[in-house]
């Protein structure tokens, strides 16, 4: 009895789903988009954009899903491996090479409208182009900017911004001595990609790089000075020790509560640090600039943390998916939602409306985009990064010397290659 009931119930259920899916397929196209929770455009922003898109395209229904950055790559890959892949997804610049190697992204070189090719910042196309093929539409260009608390600096008698890394550290020492702030620096240095972003920005400021021209990691030589610098910040009590468990949002909280004078974070923090609902700082106290370089090496440094939108090659509706991501990155949409993230369109930077009230940020962005470098772009970057994270943290804890940490990191990376 019971079994029969269950069986018939199941059959009915299956029939209903089959029926529903065939009927719906003719009338409505369903797209699944995977985005990132927090940072960059907020979930709310993306959902509003999506709602507008659906208004214009009544036959397309887009369901958005948001996962934390740390899950984004694994989720994209796991879903891709299954038969229920996403149609479009957010792709970090460091993943394009890996996704390309696995043929996960649709080659959309031929489908990019001319206006996008001409209008979007050239640097942004570099992010989404691999081996001459365009695999994604740029969504935002970003870097870790140096945020500073103007009130604290003027309290300590500094009216100018730091011109070099050394000057910044001197300022931090004074701030600490005068008791203005206990830990002048706070960075996102949890065992995650955020740590590598912080490290990479300073590496850039020191004029060094991860790899040599042939793509061999050379950090055991090139990266030691940078790491020793970070360790010294920790040892001298200038860097908040909790940094080692912080991600970007934790850093934002600390900076916004007035517990740090300097920090590195993405552009999205600018608006939030000035928002009285999210921050206890006076809006005019929030300063932003590109990270200064090491004295005598360079003036400014920026390491890309940009992202693009891609169509997964398993999508059943590649045309509509492309239409959707082109819409998300169109100039109109990007200008409208530019509160947290600046547009990728060259023309937007000359638009006084976009820059209104945040001239400093737009100026910093312009400067950063002109000098921006990228983290290594290769299929097994993710694993190499995990190895680096562990070894860099070991050095920051003082378990091993900076040199030894990087020597063993490079050794381990060479093993997986």
């Amino acid at each position: 009895m019971r079994k029969n009931f269950v069986l018939s119930f199941l059959v009915v259920c299956i029939l209903l789903t089959l029926f529903a899916s065939t009927v719906l397929a003719e009338e409505e196209i369903e797209l699944r988009f995977l985005g990132m929770a927090q940072a960059a455009y907020s979930e709310q922003n993306v959902n509003d954009m999506t709602a507008d898109f659906m208004k214009d395209h009544p036959n397309i229904k887009v369901s958005t899903e948001f996962v934390p950055y740390e899950e984004l790559r694994n989720k994209t890959m796991l879903a891709y491996g299954s038969s229920n892949s996403y149609d479009a997804a957010l792709v970090d610049d460091i993943w394009f090479a890996e996704y390309a190697a696995k043929d996960m992204l649709l080659d959309i070189t031929a489908d990019i409208p001319q206006e996008y090719k001409d209008g979007v910042l050239a640097g942004a196309w570099n992010v989404t182009t691999k081996n001459g093929k365009i695999l994604g539409v740029p969504w935002f260009l970003d870097t870790m900017y140096l945020f500073y608390n103007k009130d604290m600096l003027s309290q300590a008698g500094f009216e100018d911004t730091p011109k070099s890394i050394e000057e910044m550290v001197e300022m931090a020492k004074v701030l600490k001595e005068k008791g203005i702030v206990e830990y002048p620096f706070v960075f996102s240095m949890a065992q995650a990609e955020a740590l590598i972003c912080v490290y990479a920005n300073f590496l850039e400021a020191y004029g060094q790089s991860f790899q040599d021209a042939e793509g061999n990691y050379i950090l055991q030589d090139s990266g030691v000075e940078t790491l020793e610098f970070l360790v010294s910040l920790m040892d001298e009590g200038l860097l908040n020790p909790n940094s080692l468990e912080f991600l970007e949002e934790d850093v934002r909280r600390v900076f916004s509560s007035g517990d740090a004078a300097f920090t590195l974070n993405w552009a999205y923090m600018y608006a939030l640090a000035k928002d009285p609902a999210e921050s206890s700082l006076a809006p005019e106290a929030v300063g932003i600039m590109t990270l200064p370089g090491k004295e005598g090496i360079k003036e400014h440094a920026a390491m890309s943390g940009s992202m693009g939108l891609g169509v997964l090659s398993k999508s059943a509706h590649p045309k509509e998916a492309l239409e959707y991501i082109l819409y998300l990155s169109s100039k109109g949409v990007q200008d409208t939602y530019s509160n947290l993230q600046l547009p990728v369109w060259t023309a937007s930077y000359d638009d006084p409306q976009i820059a209104a009230g945040r001239e400093d940020m737009v100026a910093a962005a312009k400067q950063a985009f002109s000098i921006m470098n990228v983290r290594p772009s290769e299929p097994n970057y993710q694993e190499a990064s995990a190895i680096l994270q562990k070894n860099i943290q070991s050095a920051l804890y003082g378990d091993v010397a900076a040199k030894d940490a990087l020597v063993s990191a490079v050794e381990e990376i060479n093993q997986i290659k």
């Binding site: 990132m36 899903e65 991600l247």
Partner: protein
Amino acid sequence: MKKKFKFSTLLKYLALIFLFVYIISPFLWLVIMSISSSAELTLKPLRWLPEKIDVSAFKELLVMGLNTRGELFLFALRNSLITALTTVFLSMLVTIPAAWVFSRYSGKKNVILSLAIFTFMLPPVAYCIPLYKMLVRFNLMDKSLALAVVYCTFVLPFCVWLIKSSIDSIPYELEEAAVIDGAGFLQRIVQIVMPLLLPALGTVALMSLIMAWDEYFYAMLFTNSKTAITLPVVIANLASGRQSNYNLIAAGGVLASAPPVIIGMLFQKALIKGLVSGGVKE
């Protein structure tokens, strides 16, 4: 008997109070966080009671709307219920007859127990890869029913173990009489064993329900979207690195804890008795 004040009694009361505070305070703090405003939770040092009760976090999680947090949370609530109930139903359906056979006709009792313990002790990472590949091949990713079948990996052994030992304690003589009257196995199970087994079954069902509700690892791997994602995954994502609305995270935690905590408090005696009697038998 006259009671005299003793120093040891005082110590016992102190210990009891300490214990109570230890058990209650972390969860109580979670509840307080969930009704505080997010600004109050980033004060340094903290204020322990919110100035006024702020239920906006609960509202955000429980109000429906396309592509909102509320939608995801409510769908996850539904999926968690469906998955957990299906798991329990499925496990019961197949383990009751099997446990009956093991109890009545098995020569080697210990084999089943060892098998149950053996499968129970395997870490999920030992079979999640083939399970993933299997679900992918049969197009079963992101489906509540498939997840429920996967949950049988840890619920089934547990059920067999407890149900078998409960059947052991039902006197066989009752069935013997029925056999002489010509009863078949179905009548024996349904008419004789089941009525006596019901209390124990209730216990096992509740335990399994809580176990399935609690599961995170498989759900994280095998579900993506609101069609099948479960509460633990949604809450873990909510709380992951880049989110710092502490009151929202806390509200999610309170809501997800409510069902098992209420069930636990209501049926505490039955739950524990079932576990002990099942385990100690062997």
